[in-house]
Amino acid sequence: MATKRLAFIVRALPYKTEASRLALTHAIASQSVEIYLKDGDLVEASVSFIGDGVLNCHKNQQGMKHYGLTTIEGHYKNSLLLDLKVLICKEDLDRLGLTENDLLMNAEDIGGETNAQIVPYSEIYKEMESVDHLLFC
C-alpha cells in the first residue's frame, strides 16, 4: 500500500488556453485513479496557483456567457468539494492587486468543506519539495 503525491503547479492564464482547466480536471481524477491501481494504492494531488495562474481563482467568471463553455470556477469548486489541497500564491495576488475578496475561496454552496488557502510562495515551494512529482501547467 503506497501513496504517491503529485503537485499541479498552475501558471497558465484562464481561458487563454485549456492548460489550467485540464490541470484541475486531472487533479480531480486522482480521486478515481484507484480503478487502475492495486488495493490500497493511492495518488494524491494538490493544486497550486502561481504567477498569472492566480487569475484562475477569480470569482464571477463568465465563461458560459462569452464562450458557451463551463467556467474554470466549476472545476475549481469541484476540487475543493473533493478535499484537494488548493494553494494560491500571496505575492502574485499582491502583484496583481487582488485580495481574498476577489477570489473563490470555498465550495460551500455545493457542499464542500475544504477552503482554498492563500499562502506565501515559500509554502508552495515546501509543497513542491514534499511531493513525488511536479506537473507544471
Partner: protein, 120 residues
C-alpha cells in the same frame, strides 16, 4: 531501468513541444527505459490516423509506430479531449489506446519521472 511518464497537451505540427516530448521518449527508450505517453487537449491530434508527411512540417506518426514496435512504449489519448475535437475510436491510429484521464494519474504512480507539458 526506469519508467518515464509524459503527459503532453500541446498541438500537433503547430507546437514543437509535441516533437520535443516524442524525441525525449525516443531517447529514454533507447537507453532502455519504459515510457508511458499521455495525450490530452490538443495533443490528441497525434492520435489521429491518416497523417500525411511533408518535408516542411513535423511528422510524428511514423515515429510513434516505431516506438510502439519497441514494446517499451504505451501511448494513450484522452477520450474526452479527442471526442471534443471530432476524433473517435474509428479515427485512432493503430496501437494508440483511448482512456479517461485516470490512466495518466495511474501511470504516474509507478513512474520514476513525470513530465507534464501543458497547453497550446
Amino acid at each position: 531501468m526506469g519508467k518515464l511518464t509524459i503527459g503532453c497537451f500541446s498541438s500537433l505540427v503547430g507546437s514543437l513541444s509535441l516533437d520535443f516530448s516524442i524525441k525525449l521518449a525516443q531517447a529514454a527508450i533507447k537507453k532502455g527505459h519504459k515510457v508511458d505517453y499521455w495525450m490530452s487537449g490538443n495533443a490528441t491530434m497525434l492520435s489521429k490516423k491518416g497523417q500525411k508527411a511533408f518535408k516542411d512540417y513535423s511528422h510524428l506518426a511514423k515515429t510513434v509506430q516505431e516506438l510502439l514496435a519497441t514494446g517499451n512504449f504505451q501511448i494513450t489519448a484522452c477520450e474526452a479531449c479527442a471526442a471534443a475535437r471530432g476524433y473517435h475510436k474509428e479515427d485512432t491510429m493503430e496501437g494508440v489506446k483511448s482512456h479517461s484521464m485516470d490512466w495518466y494519474l495511474a501511470s504516474s504512480f509507478d513512474a520514476d519521472r513525470v513530465l507534464h507539458i501543458g497547453g497550446d
